[in-house]
């Protein structure tokens, strides 16, 4: 793959993407249009995140890729391999050691630092899309801060179901201005978005980049009497006994037995190495 430029994209394209990233950082939560390129992986499989990572990586970086919180899911493996080949950067599965982390659907459990960049893969960047399919309309609504429709949707949820029936991709307001789609992370992760690291969001097919600078105010939309609640399965992790991490549910047999394990595989591994043992931790280690 030495025929390709560092991190695959040519320098002109990377400059174009960096300009979009800088604009995104300057206007937090605003969706910046960019001339997304056709990547050698399908649209919808992280081409936006891959382009943002390609424009962000330097040869000195250490790169981590997670999908559903895990480093070993097939698409995470595929993207990590792509950058190992085209950029030759060091890769890691350890959250603390990574300088750039590309993610799909999760924010790592370990707190990120000012020296880190979190790159999200975004399928539909427009939080208003399912309320109004037209881009021409939603751009106007953002310009005028006309977010009433979103509040009506949340209100209708409460009136019909007694609760806000959005469990992932839960809309947030960034820096008191733009309503933003946090990408399809579970709402459990929303409070983590006020963080020390830079957060960049890339939507390749939809040709949009947006960003949240460090320590920026990010508020999940709610009502005073129905406050936002970050929820997760009401169990500890069955491998590492963590009570504070987001859990995946695994079906064990056809008799209805389940186990719950950390979706963040690195977090779970580091806890087990530190001696924490969950309900089924002994069996799994055996």
């Amino acid at each position: 793959m030495s025929d390709y430029n560092f991190a695959y994209l040519d320098e002109q394209t990377k400059r174009m993407i960096r300009r979009a990233i800088l604009k995104g950082l300057a206007v937090p939560g605003y969706q910046v249009p960019f001339a997304s390129r056709e990547m050698p992986m399908p649209y919808g499989w992280g081409t936006g995140g891959v382009q943002v990572s390609a424009a962000t990586l330097t040869p000195e970086d250490t790169f981590k890729v997670i999908d559903q919180g895990a480093d070993d899911t097939t698409n995470a493996v595929s993207i990590r391999k792509f950058f190992e080949r085209t950029a030759g950067v060091a890769t890691t599965e350890e959250t603390e050691k990574a300088s750039v982390i590309q993610t799909r659907h999760r924010i790592p459990e370990a707190e990120l630092t000012e020296d880190q960049i979190l790159v999200y893969q975004v399928p539909i960047p427009e939080p208003l899309r399912f309320l109004e399919p037209r881009e021409t309309e939603t751009r106007k609504m953002h310009a005028l801060q006309e977010y009433g429709l979103m509040h009506v949707k949340l209100y209708e949820d409460i009136s019909q179901h007694g609760a806000i029936a959005t469990s992932y991709a839960y809309p947030v307001k960034v820096s008191d201005r733009y309503v933003m789609d946090p990408s399809p992370i579970p709402k459990f992760d929303n409070p983590k978005m006020e963080m020390a690291a830079i957060q960049l969001f890339g939507a390749g097919r939809e040709q949009r980049i947006y960003a949240v600078p460090p320590y920026t105010k990010v508020v999940s939309l709610d009502f005073e009497d129905y406050p936002f609640e970050a929820s997760k399965a009401d169990h500890p992790c069955d491998l590492c006994a963590a009570e504070d991490s987001y859990l995946d549910e695994v079906i064990l047999d056809d008799a209805g037995n389940r186990m719950f394990v950390c979706s963040d595989t690195d977090y779970c591994r580091s806890r087990r190495e530190a001696g924490h043992v969950g309900r089924l931790g002994e069996e799994a280690a055996a």
Partner: protein, 366 residues
């Protein structure tokens, strides 16, 4: 017992190896050469070049071979390759009026300068399976004659002479390029046409068909359909003039559509335009119909709410590489999101059941 899903990397490598074996198929059957695909599956090659936006029959043949004949996959391979190519510059606009036509027909005039030339068409074949082809038939030689030397002007020029068809405004403005600038709405006609010519043949066909069946109906006559090769010229700065750097095969379709006129424009004919790489007749006619339907605003026609009139709808969904990528991505793991939905639905059901119980208890107490 729970086993962590490790070994994704090895699984991927093994899947790729299996794919390569399946691609080759039964090794006792001779392997396809790229030349065989290029020469004998030429219309598939044409479609891959048109929707891949790259005129290179050999690369298109390679893509078809690599994709096991999945043309959308082949188009994807070409697109991904295309974006990595350096751009040396832009050619001059091609002169389709000077096309060396293999085929040229008009549905609006019985005869016209340049004549009606059927060319290599399926049109009047009876669709009967030809079992001779199954038994490695002899090469067929078509009768030949001297090529026509007279010029083949565009049919619409004759209508223009009478001033009965709209004039295309001439412009030296740089056309848009959606591979370099993000799509924005409203899109100008050059970007719309670029999007349509790259768009999925099936999607454009369906959109065009919907206009024929009454969703924003605008009856189209095929003023002209021509297929042939045109010279590609480029200005070389060091030389100071344009030289021919090659030729490409194109299909061009111009439709002539009725127009009742508006407050500002007297009744006249209007145009739809289709231009596609290779012999891509169905696609170019469909493109012309959709182009015409999308022009309702500039012509002062009514918005009938039809899908084919809706620029944002048509252009946002015509690209099969975008569509197939997003469609197929739902195969990827979504268990984090699904888990959050599971928790939510369980909670809502629990609350609903509790409400029913409370109701029953209350009724019993009364």
């Amino acid at each position: 017992m729970y086993v962590a899903v490790k070994g994704g990397e090895r699984a991927i490598d093994n899947a790729h190896a299996w794919l390569a074996e399946e691609r080759r198929g039964d090794t006792s059957v001779a392997e396809l050469s790229l030349a065989q695909i290029r020469e004998q599956l030429a219309l598939a090659v044409n479609r891959v070049m048109a929707e891949g936006s790259l005129f290179d029959p050999d690369l298109a043949a390679l893509a078809i071979k690599q994709s096991r004949g999945d043309l959308i996959e082949a188009i994807f391979l070409i697109r991904a390759y295309r974006t990595t190519l350096p751009r040396f510059g832009y050619t001059l606009p091609v002169e389709t009026g000077a096309m060396a036509c293999d085929r040229r027909i008009s549905a609006t005039f019985k005869d016209a300068p340049g004549g009606q030339v059927l060319g290599p068409t399926f049109d009047y074949t009876h669709r009967l399976l030809d079992f001779k082809l199954a038994a490695e038939g002899e090469a067929v030689e078509a009768p030949t004659s001297a090529p026509r030397t007279e010029p083949t002007p565009h049919i619409t020029e004759f209508l223009q002479g009478e001033d009965i068809i709209e004039r295309e405004p001439s412009s030296d403005a740089q056309p848009g390029d959606l591979t370099r600038e993000p799509m924005a709405f409203p899109a100008d006609r050059s970007v719309r046409l670029q999007s349509l010519t790259r768009g999925d043949e099936g999607f454009i066909l369906g959109m065009a068909y919907s206009t024929q069946r009454g969703y924003a109906r605008n009856h189209a006559f095929v003023g002209e359909l021509r297929i042939g090769t045109v010279a590609v010229e480029m200005e070389i700065p060091e030389l100071g003039f344009a030289i021919e750097i090659g030729e490409v095969e194109l299909t061009e379709c111009e439709t002539v559509n009725q127009f009742k006129g508006s407050k500002t424009v007297p009744p006249q004919f209007t145009r739809g335009y289709g231009l596609v790489f290779g012999q891509s007749e169905r696609k170019s006619i469909a493109m012309a119909l959709v182009d015409r339907a999308l022009r309702w605003k500039e012509l002062g026609e009514d918005n009938l709410g039809a899908a084919a009139q809706d620029e944002e709808f048509v252009l946002s969904h015509s690209d099969n590489i975008q569509a197939t990528g997003f469609l197929e991505h739902i195969k990827l793991p979504h268990y984090v999101d699904f888990q959050s939905e599971l928790e939510l639905v369980r909670k809502l059901r629990r609350e609903a059941a509790e409400a029913v119980e409370q109701m029953a208890a209350k009724e019993a107490a009364e």
